[in-house]
Amino acid sequence: MISIRHLAKEFPVSGGRVAALKGLDLEVAEGEFFVIVGASGSGKTTLLRCVAGLEAPDGGEIRIAGRVVSSDKPPVWVASQQRQLGMVFQSYAVWPHLTVYENVALPLAEGEQRAPRREVSSRAREALRLVQLEELADRSATLLSGGQQQRVALARAIAVNPRILLMDEPLSNLDARLREEVRGKIRDLSKQLGSTVLYVTHDQVEAMAMADKIALMQAGELLQVGLPMELYHHPARPEVAEFFGLVNWVEGRMVQPALAETAVGAIEIKGSQAPGSQVLLGFRPESLSPVSTPPAGARNVLSGVLRSSTFLGDQFLYDVMIRDHLFVGKGRLIPSNGDGNVCFYVDPREVMVFPAKKKISGRFDERGI
């Protein structure tokens, strides 16, 4: 549905130009809820704005539904108006001089994707019904709460039956509780309408909760594209692993195809690596599970001293010192055998293995606890 090739974009800054997009490729299938996630400044909003036609790329090509909407060679440019999109802006951009109904009806009545005159009212009301704002239709848009404005923006975006829905951090201005509620609703609505959604956020939880597919973006490039589970459990690079949550890192050397020697002991992994190669192993806090009695003869049992723990309600987060290395674990209870020593088991399937190219300075080393 959306096909992007070698997209490049630079911005002038004082003393030169900075590349916001470095020739990236992207493919979004029809009906897919596609989330682009990345830290601020990674270029994700620029990418979205290029698709929207609000920003002109310096190079590359964008196709929407097979039609080239932006290209440098040959030069093609389709104005934003003609791309048949719906978009929810970060600020919502609800027109303050119009009522809720007028906000939704204006694109239908006067936009490029306008509806036949007699349908305008029914379609606008239908869109408002879908976001449960029918009763507020005649209220001035400025008298709404943040959550309601967000729904007006959504209704406006879906009212024109766009081929593609673009969303630029639509939840970032809502409070935490509302955000969780709305993200489910947005996803349900988009599935109900069968829309293709390109959604931008900096929140990895939001991304994983909503996406059919996630693309992680950093410094103008896509680090990895895949299913949420893939990115979480099988990150292609250490940076991807770190983005989706805390990682305990440890460097090691392969002594057997599936066994690495590390500073905290031998660790078994899944799959095989060339013996003798240097590797970087990582596992998430929830993989560092405390065990009261280690299985007999089991590998990957690490013994350490509990340094501190934080009660999170549903579970504990704790810092453990294992052979002068500080690790973070997560679990439901902390068994102790009395002397403060705790045993942990790390499932080989949950160990992420990367070739050790450079030292990763994980948050873990910098935690001065």
Binding site: G53, L54, A56, P75, W77, V78, G86, A93, W95, P107
Partner: protein
């Protein structure tokens, strides 16, 4: 595919990142005024380099005009007059405007809204009213004050002469005091009161605090105001014309006027006036650059303050009466008294100090004897200007502002400069340029000379700087995503402007419209330089009566003009109350 627009517009104004906005129509709207200004200046410079028959093959290109200007002893005299006039203007404007600004912003003086209304609306009362009124007060021969003093002290002639460079500076200063007020009141408001409080806590009394802290902090702002006033003073025409031309006291601007409109049967000296104009352009650009530099340096003193601080105001106490007395005196001598005397003169058969005898002779003879043909023609032309110019200014101003505010391309600086250019160029220069352009450059193609539309063109470019600045400020407050939402929703550029932007900034647009209309309504300089029989405006009718010695008739027309002016000024006040819109 008709919907696919080829990205061909890659000229300097492709606005790189913003191809969607750079509709060629919008860009040409924004560029047209700049082209006109450049054309005016170039036409003037071109003529200044010629002798013989201008603009034809028989013209001789030479620097002779410049040599003549520089060796003209009379010019030196005019230059000296202008210098004295400008200095006095600055002095009186500061002495009157600065204390009122300080009183309003930094003390507990009551009735601040009223002061603001008085000062802002005062800006709208034409300077020529004050000049005419003060002629009636302090002209050495007919001035009431002089006549009283002559009678009282038994003098041979009137001791006060308003028709001197200092006297004219006094009148001009009274007019521009309102501008000083507006420029410096903002500065006093932005000043961090904790700096003064620190002085107070450490033992400085009010006088010392003012002298050691407030004044030095305010100095950059005051200096900026001084340069601004100087820029206006050097080239101002209307007040020196009303007060000086009839009494043969010449400034640069009035000297220029008699070069292009020589009295009697003299021939216009366009080449020489062009050369003079060139010098004035250089001076004006220098002053404008200096002004910009001082403004930037002024930010050095800005102290960041937290949100919502309330400036501590100085308790005025028993000095309140003195403060209001000062403000009332200013309003009386600069606006009220001149207007009353004009009204009085309009109904007296000849001008003489008010007495029982004179009140017995009051009549409407000047109204019935008036050349109504001329007055109605003036009214018609002024009407056309008031209808056409503000709308065109809004159209161009909005186009420029939209491109300037929303574009990230470097070419926007060019546009911004273009919009600011008319600010630097005195109206006399634009008028001279327009005169030469219409006479010698495009005269054979477009017969604009003597047309009211020639005046309209100059008004549009002259008023554009103010309009773009006001609209810029207003557009900057509108979140960019509001219009982007319209684009994505499929609204065309035009519809986006019409349905989203214009409704959001309409208070500013209305205010710019009214201000422009008012300034056009009262404008004299350009109208007089470009005026002939057919395109005479209402202020130019007043001027021609006045210049011809018909003081009472001129007053009568002025009174008529005021009848229309008053509701317009009230409209400004009414709109201004509803939306806080910056003054000039």
């Amino acid at each position: 595919m008709s919907t696919v627009r080829q990205a061909v517009l890659r000229l300097p104004f492709s606005f790189g990142a913003r191809r969607w906005r750079a509709s060629p129509f919008l860009v040409s709207l924004a560029l047209a005024p700049m082209a006109v200004i450049l054309l005016l200046v170039v036409a003037m410079l071109w003529i200044s380099l010629q002798k013989g028959v201008f603009g034809t093959a028989s013209a001789i290109y030479t620097l002779e005009n410049y040599r003549e200007v520089l060796s003209d002893p009379f010019l030196l005299h005019a230059l000296r007059n202008t210098a004295i006039f400008t200095l006095s203007t600055v002095f009186f404007a500061l002495v009157l405007g600065l204390p009122i600004a300080w009183l309003t912003e930094r003390t507990t003086i009551p009735g601040k809204t009223l002061i603001y209304a008085l000062m802002t609306l005062g800006l709208l009362i034409p300077g020529i009213y004050t000049a005419m009124g003060w002629t009636l007060i302090a002209h050495p021969r007919i001035g009431i004050l002089n006549r009283w003093l002559v009678d009282l002290l038994g003098l041979a002639e009137g001791p006060i002469n308003i028709a001197t460079p200092v006297g004219m500076g006094f009148v001009q200063g009274m007019s521009l005091a309102a501008l000083v007020f507006i420029l410096t009141a903002q500065m006093f408001r932005a000043m961090n009161p904790s700096l003064e409080e620190a002085a107070k806590v450490h033992g400085l009394n009010l006088g010392r605090t003012l002298w050691r802290i407030t004044l030095p902090l305010a100095l950059p702002g005051i200096l900026a105001a001084v340069i601004y006033i100087t820029t206006i003073g050097i080239a101002t025409f209307d007040i020196p014309a009303i007060l000086g031309l009839g009494n043969r006291v010449y400034m640069l601007s009035t000297f220029l006027y008699i070069k292009v409109h020589p009295p009697g049967s003299g021939l216009p000296e366009y080449g020489i006036s062009g050369a003079m104009g060139a010098f004035m352009v250089i001076l004006a650009i220098f002053l404008t650059c200096w002004y910009g530099q001082v403004l930037r340096q002024g930010h050095r003193f800005e102290v960041i303050t937290g949100k919502g601080y309330r400036p501590a105001l100085i308790e005025l106490g028993r000095w309140t009466m003195l403060g209001w007395g000062f403000i009332a005196l200013y309003a009386l001598i600069s606006k009220l008294l001149p207007l009353l005397l004009i009204a009085y003169a309009a109904f007296t058969p000849y001008f003489a100090p008010p007495s029982f005898e004179m009140f017995g002779k009051l009549s409407t003879v000047h109204f019935s004897n008036m050349d109504w043909d001329l007055v109605l023609r003036g009214l018609k032309n002024t009407g056309i200007l008031v209808l056409v110019v503000p709308l065109v200014v809004l159209l161009f101003g909005f186009s420029i502002s939209w491109l300037v505010v929303r574009s990230r391309s470097r070419s926007r600086y060019l546009l911004e400069f273009g919009a600011f250019l008319p600010h630097a160029l005195p109206e006399v220069i634009m008028a001279i340029g327009a005169l030469m352009l219409s006479l010698f450059v495009i005269g054979n193609v477009v017969p604009l000379y003597g047309s009211v539309y020639l005046i309209a063109i100059v008004y549009v470019v002259a008023r554009l700087a103010f309009a773009t600045r006001a609209i810029n400020g207003s557009l900057l407050q509108i979140h960019k995503e509001l219009e982007e939402a319209a684009f994505v929703a499929g609204l065309s550029t035009f519809r986006t402007a019409w349905r989203v932007l214009l409704p959001l900034i309409w208070p500013t647009l209305v205010s710019v419209w009214i201000w422009t209309a008012l300034l056009v309504y009262r404008e004299l300089t350009v109208a007089v330089f470009l005026g002939v029989q057919d395109n005479i405006t209402l202020p130019a009718v007043i001027w021609s009566y006045w210049y011809g010695g018909g003081i009472n008739k001129a007053s009568a027309v002025t009174l008529l003009m005021t009848l229309v002016l008053t509701p317009m000024i009230l409209a400004v006040w009414w709109v201004g109350r509803r939306s806080q819109v910056p003054g000039q």
